[in-house]
Symmetry: C2
Subunit: 267 residues, 2 copies
DNA sequence: CAATCCGGAATCGTATACAATTTTTAGGCA
DNA sequence: TGCCTAAAAATTGTATACGATTCCGGATTG
């Protein structure tokens, strides 16, 4: 049933939609150090083909082309990517470990639907970890890294101006990842990537207002703090930025879809 | 070659070696809330049988029965646990995601050998995260949870007195996990579990002195801070405790095994 | 008419078989 | 003796097949 998964062209580039050139010249940014090692959670790359499937699925989820709750049938995904269930299974397990999909025994894999509680916890965790990492990063930012950050912000602006909401959010996450990579802490970096991935799901579910160009300002301020080696400042900006993100969510039971119907007309 | 893996009885309890009764009566503690949900990294449990294998391998690694660098052949593990390679593979992948084993393409799975850099990063990460979690935990510790912590410390003492070094370290890690569970933060708790698991590997590789009953004191102090709801104190104690652990490591290239030989007689 | 029960279809869990790659070993040659 | 080459052995990567469980629809019955 259903034509659920419709990600990219069977064998497009690993991050096809990630290279979308909104405007010609100013869009050279494109996540620099986030190639293969930015894989799922960051850990042990699944062998061979599974990794490609992983990345495509991940990108699709992070760009909200696959919404939370969608079923990822092994057969279906396998047919789409022209792979056997064995490797699809590996890919799905990998994504499950990174928290993007959840697997229910004998029922299959679904794009994760973070609970409200988990949403809170993810952003609390980010509020604990990322500010500290931002401080570390501020202490050792090179010129080219600053350029990279600038390009990221640039790209965010472009996407936002073009009204590409989901892509904008994706890039926003990539910015945070870029910051964590500057800190050159792989362990914390991996953790942060995982949290940001999950944040993407949370935002897809609980975002309050579809407008709000809130991001770019904080990101710019953060970059400037890093530019002037202001660790303390960077830490504080990051902290408040994440708190802002957290409070920008509408964390109440959403009573989604038909459940709402049966609930509304109950009596 | 080799009779590498020799964990438990093919189908013993999930955590057989974890229940080793050093002394009869005083050993009732045994990790309370750390049953199945304390699985590997904490994430998506591999389906069915794989989970059991996961847990057994994990326990063996955490107790240093499987040393870093050991090869975990799929066939071999499969034969030992009476399972087919399919499920063994899933188990190994899961452990790889939690950082306990590393897989090299076309070469197989090995118990991870954390690099010195990774060792530093893991303890830096713990120093960032755990103190904050300890603070949270201190604010909401119930009586029974205190009892549980007490039992943990008790068990550590017993193991230490019996000279069971590796088990003592294992229990030390479990104590930290117990603290994180009190904080009732699943996301951060999962992260902490993963970091502690890796710490176990790091300690196996880089521990300085095989003696040192250093742990228990800090743990006891932490417990008392939590008992008196002293969040600030708990945070500080945890912080310094982790720094102590970090500095208790001998983080220099160990030139292990034969490499040492060729090095010694080089000139 | 509604609730329940059963059978088919679909999907997942596991085992086994085959292909690809690596490692090792045996052999030949300088 | 030492080193390079090549074939064999071992191990992993992938595909397919079969059994088990769940889901969905229709028939039966109170």
């Amino acid at each position: 049933m259903s034509s659920a998964v419709k990600a990219g062209t069977r064998r497009g580039a690993a991050v096809p939609s990630g290279a979308k050139p909104a405007a010609g010249p100013p869009a050279k940014p494109d996540v620099k150090g986030a190639d293969a090692r930015s894989a799922e959670g960051g850990f042990s790359l699944p062998p061979g083909r599974a990794l490609a499937i992983c990345l495509q699925l991940q990108t699709a989820i992070l760009e909200h082309r696959l919404r939370p709750g969608m079923k990822l049938s092994e057969d279906e995904v396998g047919e789409i990517f022209g792979a056997s269930r064995t490797v699809v299974r590996a890919a799905l397990h990998a994504l499950a470990h990174s928290g993007l999909v959840s697997m229910e025994r004998n029922r299959g894999a679904f794009v994760s639907r973070p609970t409200i509680r988990e949403a809170h916890e993810v952003f609390e965790a980010r509020a604990v970890i990322e500010p500290r990492v931002a401080r570390l990063a501020a202490g050792c930012t090179t010129e080219s890294q600053l350029e990279n950050l600038k390009a990221h912000i640039e790209a965010e602006h472009v996407a936002l101006a073009a009204g590409e909401m989901s892509r904008s959010l994706y890039l926003s996450g990539q910015f945070h990842i870029a910051v964590s990579e500057i800190a050159d802490q792989q362990v914390l970096g991996t953790i942060i990537r995982s949290l940001i991935s999950r944040s993407s799901l949370i935002i897809a579910l609980y975002w309050k207002r579809p407008d709000t160009a809130c991001e770019s300002h904080s990101h710019h301020a953060l970059m400037r703090a890093m530019e002037s080696q202001d660790g303390q400042g960077a830490e504080e900006i990051m902290k408040s930025h994440i708190v802002d993100l957290h409070s920008g969510l509408d964390l109440v039971e959403h009573s989604h879809h038909d459940q709402a119907l049966s609930e509304v007309f109950k009596k």
